[in-house]
Amino acid sequence: MTTTPLLETSHVWQRFGGVVANNDVSITVAPGEIVGLIGPNGAGKSTLFNLIAGATPPSDGTIRFDGEDVTALPATARCKRGIARTFQVVKSFESMSVIDNVIVGSLVRTASIGQARDKALEVLEFTGLLHRAHAPASELIPSEKRRLEIARALATSPKLLLLDEVLTGLTPSEAQYGVELVRRSRDRGVTILMVEHVMEIVMPLVDRAIVLDLGRVLAEGKPADIVRDERVIGAYLGERHRARSA
Amino acid sequence: MLSAETIVQSLASGLLMGLLYGLIAVGLALIFGLMDVVNFAHGEFLMTAMYATFGLAVLVGLDPLLSAPLVAAALFVFGALVYLGIVRFAMRAKKNIGMVQIFTTFGLAILMQGLAQFLFTPDYRSIANSWLGGKTLSVGDIFLPVPQLAGAVVSIATFGLLYFVINRTDFGRALEATREDAGAVALVGIDRNRVFAIGWGLGAALVGLAGAIMATFFYIYPDVGSSFALIAYVTVALGGFGSVFGAFAGGIIIGLVEAITAMILPPSLKSVGIYSVYLAVVFLRPRGLFGSI
């Protein structure tokens, strides 16, 4: 039995000048999944993220979310429909406190500051940042800022959460906390699409992995199969070869 | 009805003035391109150069054409000192850095105007006799004022030299590199403060050169910088922040537009043409004509 995918990109292209960053990419994400988007550097993962989030429009192709064609919708409209994202380079609101950062997210769903604050407090507890609620965002350490990114996105009550390398560069215990946070988010009913580099952490976490290489979808399937896939290994080795001969 | 002759004359004067505007603006463009700071005291640097030229002419009898290199050198030192003594601290601000540098340099502008007023009184000065002043060159039916002509020549030469320095010398590459990534540059052993100080010095020297020439045909008074400063900002923004060539092209465009506007509108509305063109350009190209930032 097939369920309607929550997210579906159909033959999506992204061209910048002469460069093709995304080449005929068609992927689906089913509700309730945790899907990993992996691939060597320059594979087009961030570009695809920006396309799904609505930060840039695709050169070609369509994007359907929750049964609706959202290709022409800007990021703000997609957020209202239920797509939230984090940024690879953390973009916290530095002049505001942690809780105020999260309130901005909650305000998508309610105009009442009181309700927004309640939601923010709940999300801060969920992401383990409640004790820092009134600290200025600028005073957080990097891993806390990452969690703030996630908290803000969760405050928008999303159906689909796009995580851009949230586990990269963390200490093992921080990464473990991050993994648990992702799992708990899914348990709350949020579908997750995450870009990651750290294979050892992400493979045990995701239900399914999609591999991009040079702008195309190279392979997709269960993590256990993907790591053994020769084309995937070749792409990563090839990356190392490319790096060495450069 | 304007005759063809008048129009050509107007455009020729506008072109010369435009090249001079480019020279005034390029120092601003250089400083901005280097460190993302808009020097709101740029007009006062011009004013300082004009007073310095005037001083040398009146006290030492040195013709502006001769004192121009001296004035430029003096302004170089002045610009570097302004960076080291004031702007350097503005760059350290952790929050609101845009506001800090705007108001720091703006405060400096007021201070310099006050000092000029204190030292020289608000009286208008002019250099009575100079090699360039008051003479015109006639090319066919067109009269080209010699000071503006000299200014235009210096401007073109300067831009040519700048192009060479920025693209072909080590120093120029260091300037570009510092702009790209000040942090990494430090690792390679290039002292960021030194590069910035030299950048400010160079920017000031360039406007100093323009000031020396302008002193031969403009009245000199404490306020004189303000109107040229605005033209300089508009020129740089029109050409696009971060582009030296943009300052050159922007200056020419501004000069021509100003001349055309003067033919159509009453003199007091002269600047409206420039402002309208700036707005039209940035509304279509939000980063100016050649801007990279």
Partner: protein, 328 residues
Amino acid sequence: MDAASFAQGRFREFMLAVLLVAGVATLPLFVKDVYIQNILVLTLMYAALSQSWNILGGYCGQISLGHALYFGLGAYTTALLFTKFGVLPWFGMLGGGLIAALIALALGYPCFRLRGHYFVIATIVIAETAYLLFLNWDWAGAALGVDMPVRLDSWVTFQFARSKLPYFYFALMLAFVTWIVTWAFENSKWGYWWRAVKDNADAAESLGVVVFHSKMAAAAVSAFFTAVGGSFYAQFVAYIDPGSVMSFQFSLLIALPAVLGGIGTLWGPALGAAVLIPLTELTRSYVGGTGKGIDLIVYGMLVISVALARPDGIVGLFARRRRARASA
């Protein structure tokens, strides 16, 4: 800090403002010197103007150095409606505010596409254009401006020949109103959106904030109150011309108290005006008359030192104490 103590803090803030206003309102009992009363009126006016500017510049992060446009529009609307058509200044004030708000929206449409310095220069250039146009507009008095002779003292026509007190109370009320407006917006979705847009427009968009609408709203509110301040000024000085109400220097003077006191803060503009305006006026009268430019030298050094030493403004000095109390 839970919701209850937060609401308490808000209430306390409001009461503090009420107390301050009440205190300032009693000043005329002690201060009889007309010259000092004049300084007080100007201080209050600049507090209101800077507070209005702060909404767009401080909270929303869109630095306008062309706000004299709205001030001048307010002043001219009131003055022209009064002298040409006999319209009472109270209506002129409202009209001026609405016109300014509409123009801010019309300008915002193209201008808010611009970022950083391009935007700032656009604001300067637009205000300068308006200044030049008014300078050449004969119907509006061109360079000579508009003269509003005071015929009789009256609240109806809001004109008082001798006493400064009515103007004082109006300016105080205007300063209070702009403070309340800022205070109210601070804890509203607009306030949160503005600050998000200021800090990081891309992140704000990803969280559903329509950046463009936010900027437009801030611009309209800011322009409205700035224009009301301009209308007030016209009534206060009874004579306006382009140089006094639409110049670039004025645009800077509107922004400066906010920068000095603390840009993007609730109390910053008022604090900054309280320090800056008396200092400026006193310097000008004791020193400026000589034409020696000493007032400019002092003023320039003041601006530099404030911008460098305390980029958070005067408010920054108090912020640390308040934060420590909040996390307790």
